[in-house]
């Protein structure tokens, strides 16, 4: 436990907010996919994991800084997400009986395969990016010391949320996304190819978590199971905010980040997730559809 | 003679929307009563209130001399109120007979009894030949029959039918009418929400017309159909069928 001065508390909370924005960025892809087609991607953590590995290998083999590789990784994840939809999820959605079970376990199975592949090809060793432009630097804002990578990540997250909002509300494709969300059957009548919209939705969701992964690779260890720990936080974030709500993911992320930081101040570090879990349970017991959820 | 079912001053509000306003109706044992009215009249809401899906904002519901207003749906079934769903809700992964057994189990825990009763009910409803077929493989009119069979297996005193004849071919609808008559003949009271006037009017003993959440008129079908208020209500609704 630390000595609790007002300074350390503010410090922790500020860091918590930054991480919260990153959690929101990870979670929003999940919320988007769910809002679009009622499917929870249980391989979401593994998407994050490959984004982190991709960033690492671009650094290790080509000395590309994560900041530069971020857009590349996001683009690659976009393609990957669309492919996962087309090859796996599309078929999962056809299930009539046991539909819930099929969706859960098809993506879960995929997560296991991805983790196995990572272990096989990359070994379970922990990797880290040792030199990067932002890595290890801190900046002082109004007397609070903030780690630069997390700060940058938070800014990127905010920008991404803004871009997403604009995209959904102001562009044609965004409207197609909304329309398909409302009534997937009807959109075919106006010439919208449901599969294409879903594939692009998955791509977009994956790209967002890819972006988060590229940035997180700057300051987190990278290993095959890294997705698992963040995945649970992502599910909790989305569920807290309410499945299907993009804004909910944003708000949920902030809440989770703050709760995690607060818990770390009070309890031993190994228990820092307990706070988040407790808040999740509390929220859904009172509001079974999450804070902003409508589904 | 006390009524089997009575609603007393039932109001249902959803936020600012008033779905049912001061509805007081009664159904005598042994009757077939039709609950009709144009779209948005509040029929489905009233239906769901009687079935126990939700409690009314105001008012009370008396069934068989007991105030059941606060009882949830499962307990109302215990008391003898059974219902079908407008959008059929069969247990898709179970066979037809298993579907019906679920209903029968409320009256007996002995499996052999429940199974025997289920067979009887299927026979009664004309589905005996489809007993071992998975419910997902039934055609729509058979699924409707299954809804009725399941509800009947609970040995109800009052059977609530939600648009059970809508969207059927004339032949299927006629068979449906016969089934409803058979059900009443066994002593079960029937309250049915319907849209298809020309099918329903010859079937029911009495009709209750709702409009805009209120009871507009009640009486014998022949009288109700000619009532100018009823005609006006339906003409105002462009989607009315029949009349």
């Amino acid at each position: 436990m630390h000595i609790m001065t007002a300074e350390t508390i503010i410090q922790s909370l500020a860091s918590g907010l930054l991480m919260g924005l990153l959690y929101g960025l990870i979670a929003v892809g999940l919320a988007l996919i769910f809002g679009l087609m009622d499917v929870v991607n249980f391989a979401h953590g593994e998407f994050l994991m490959i984004a982190m590995y991709a960033t690492f290998f671009l650094f290790a083999f080509f000395a590309v800084d994560p900041l530069l590789s971020a857009p590349l990784v996001a683009a690659a994840l976009f393609v990957f997400g669309a492919v996962v939809y087309l090859l796996v999820v599309r078929f999962a959605m056809r299930a009539k009986a046991n539909a819930g079970m099929v969706q859960i376990f098809s993506t879960f199975g995929l997560a296991i395969v991805m983790r196995g592949l990572a272990q096989f090809f990359f070994t379970p060793d922990y990797r880290s990016i040792t030199h990067s432009w932002l890595g290890g630097k801190t900046v002082s804002i109004a007397g609070i010391f903030l780690p630069v990578p997390q700060l940058f990540g938070a800014l990127v997250a905010i920008a991404a949320f803004g871009a997403l909002w604009f995209f959904i509300n102001r562009t044609d494709f965004g409207r197609a996304l909304e329309a398909t969300r409302e009534d997937a059957g009807a959109v075919a009548l106006v010439g919208i190819d449901k599969n294409r919209v879903f594939a692009l939705g998955w791509g977009l969701g994956a790209a967002l978590v890819g972006l988060a992964g590229a940035i997180m690779a700057i300051f987190f260890y990278i290993y095959p199971d890294v997705g698992a720990s963040f995945a649970l936080i992502a599910y909790v974030t989305v569920a807290l905010g309410g499945f299907g709500s993009v804004f909910g993911a944003f708000a949920g992320g902030l809440l989770v980040g703050l709760v995690e930081a607060t818990t770390a101040l009070i309890l031993p570090p190994s228990l820092k997730s307990v706070g988040i879990y407790a808040v999740y349970l509390l929220v859904v017991f009172i509001r079974p559809r999450g804070l902003f959820g409508s589904l | 003679m006390t009524a089997l079912l009575e609603t007393r001053g039932v109001w249902q509000r959803f936020g600012g929307l008033i779905a049912n306003s001061d509805v007081s109706i009664s159904v005598q044992a042994g009757e077939i009563v039709g609950l009709i009215g144009p779209n948005g009249a509040g029929k489905s809401t009233l239906f769901n209130l009687i079935a126990g899906v939700l409690p009314p904002t105001e008012g009370s519901i008396i069934f068989d001399d007991e105030n059941v207003t606060r009882l949830p749906a499962a307990e109302r079934c215990q008391r003898g109120i059974a219902r079908t769903f407008q959008v059929v809700k069969s247990f898709e992964t179970m066979t037809v007979i298993d579907n019906v057994i679920v209903g029968a189990l409320i009256r007996t825990t002995v499996m052999r009894e429940a199974r025997r009763k289920a067979h009887e009910v299927l026979d009664f409803c004309g589905l005996a030949a489809r007993a071992d077929v998975p419910a997902s493989q039934l055609i729509p009119s058979e699924k409707r029959r299954l809804e009725v069979a399941r509800a009947l297996a609970t040995e109800p005193k009052l059977l609530l039918l939600d648009e059970v004849l809508t969207g059927l071919t004339p032949i299927e609808a006629q068979r449906g009418v016969e089934l409803v008559r058979k059900v009443r003949a066994t002593g079960v009271t029937v309250l049915m929400v319907e849209h298809v006037m020309e099918i329903v009017m010859p079937l029911v003993d009495r009709a209750i017309v709702l409009d805009l959440g209120k009871v507009l008129v009640e009486g014998k079908p022949a009288d109700v159909v000619r009532d100018p208020k009823v005609i006006a209500a339906y003409l105002g609704d462009r989607h009315a069928v029949g009349a």
């Binding site: 991805m114 196995g116 | 059974a82 067979h119």
Partner: protein, 326 residues
């Protein structure tokens, strides 16, 4: 019609008895300790998956946090034995009852949740329990509990010279789990569970008290899972939070049922006898450099089964049987 049904029920029972008898004879021919170990684990997972299947398969409430009950069973037995000298047989019972009680307590708020919110709640609760145990000094915290083994004893349920007693116990456990499922399948509980799974609204309209149904399924499932956990503690003689409450256990309890046929009588059994040996063998045959191969194999299996045959492998056999009687 009724007699055909009764016949089918009886046939299942006879087949189960025969399989159990055959299984009981296997150790007489297979002496390799490594293989015996796999067999014990397969039977244990068959029992565990069958228990999981009751709540998640029949009643449709998919839980990915069942490691909670497994761990509770393991810890109850281990703690009662090491701290108070209570024999594992009582510990098993205690673990089962505690788990059932906790399942009911958790069910109260959790069964109000639908779909994904419920699944995530189960994961979160199990993780929380794991974290709490990792920080609970009295229970050994992260270091866990070492169960002292001093020679063979049926009373203390520990054996050093041979795995056979464990094998037979696991076999009995699997039989019990199967039998409980068989019995409940054709009972009011079984029918109501399936109704709740398929359509809770319709079930309610037919008099099913959905909440009570779920609670019943949860309690039975938790009890049996905990007994499995208690067995495991005695089998390995050392437990720690990660090894008995980790998420991988929750998954490993669910996967055999998914593979074999979720919500079916034989599914979890079939799935366990395929999946467990498969994962153990791939893990050891491909050796050190093969890390992750077991994951790839069984992950791929799960994806394939969920997409191509969601009713599980059992569906393949029954279809042939039905065709044969037509």
């Amino acid at each position: 019609m009724d007699t055909a049904f009764a016949e089918r029920r009886r046939r299942n029972l006879i087949v189960a008895a025969c399989l159990a008898a055959i299984a009981a004879l296997v150790p007489l021919f297979v002496k390799d300790v490594y293989v015996q170990n796999i067999m014990v684990l397969s039977l244990m997972y068959a029992a565990l998956s069958q228990s999981w299947n009751i709540l998640s398969g029949y009643c449709g409430q998919i839980s990915l946090g069942h490691a909670l009950y497994f761990g509770l069973g393991a810890y109850t037995t281990a703690l009662l034995f090491t701290k108070f000298g209570v024999l594992p047989w009582f510990g098993m019972l205690g673990g089962g009852l505690i788990s059932a009680a906790i399942a009911l307590a958790l069910g109260y708020p959790c069964f109000r949740l639908r779909g994904h919110y419920f699944v995530i709640a189960t994961i979160v609760i199990a993780e929380t329990a794991l974290l709490l145990f990792q920080n609970w000094e009295w229970a050994g915290a992260a270091l866990g509990i070492d169960i002292p083994v001093r020679g063979d004893s049926w009373l203390k349920f520990q054996f050093t010279r041979s795995k056979l007693p464990y094998f037979y116990f696991a076999l009995v456990l699997a039989c019990i789990a199967w039998f409980v499922t068989w019995w409940l399948e054709d009972s009011k509980w079984g029918y109501w569970w399936r109704a709740v799974k398929d359509n809770p609204d319709a079930a309610e309209s037919l008099g099913v008290v959905v909440f009570n149904s779920k609670m019943g399924a949860a309690a039975v499932s938790a009890f049996l899972t905990a007994v499995g956990g208690s067995f495991y503690a005695q089998f390995v003689s050392y437990i720690d939070p990660e090894s008995v409450m980790g998420f991988q256990f929750s998954l490993l309890m669910a996967l055999p049922a998914v593979l074999g046929g979720i919500g079916t009588l034989w599914g979890p059994m079939l799935g366990a006898v395929i999946l467990i040996p498969l994962t153990e063998l791939t893990r050891s045959f491909i050796g050190g450099s093969g890390r992750g191969v077991d994951l790839i194999v069984y992950g791929a299996l799960i994806v394939l089964i969920s997409l191509a045959r969601p009713q599980g492998l059992v569906g393949m056999f029954s279809r042939h049987r039905k065709a044969a009687t037509r």
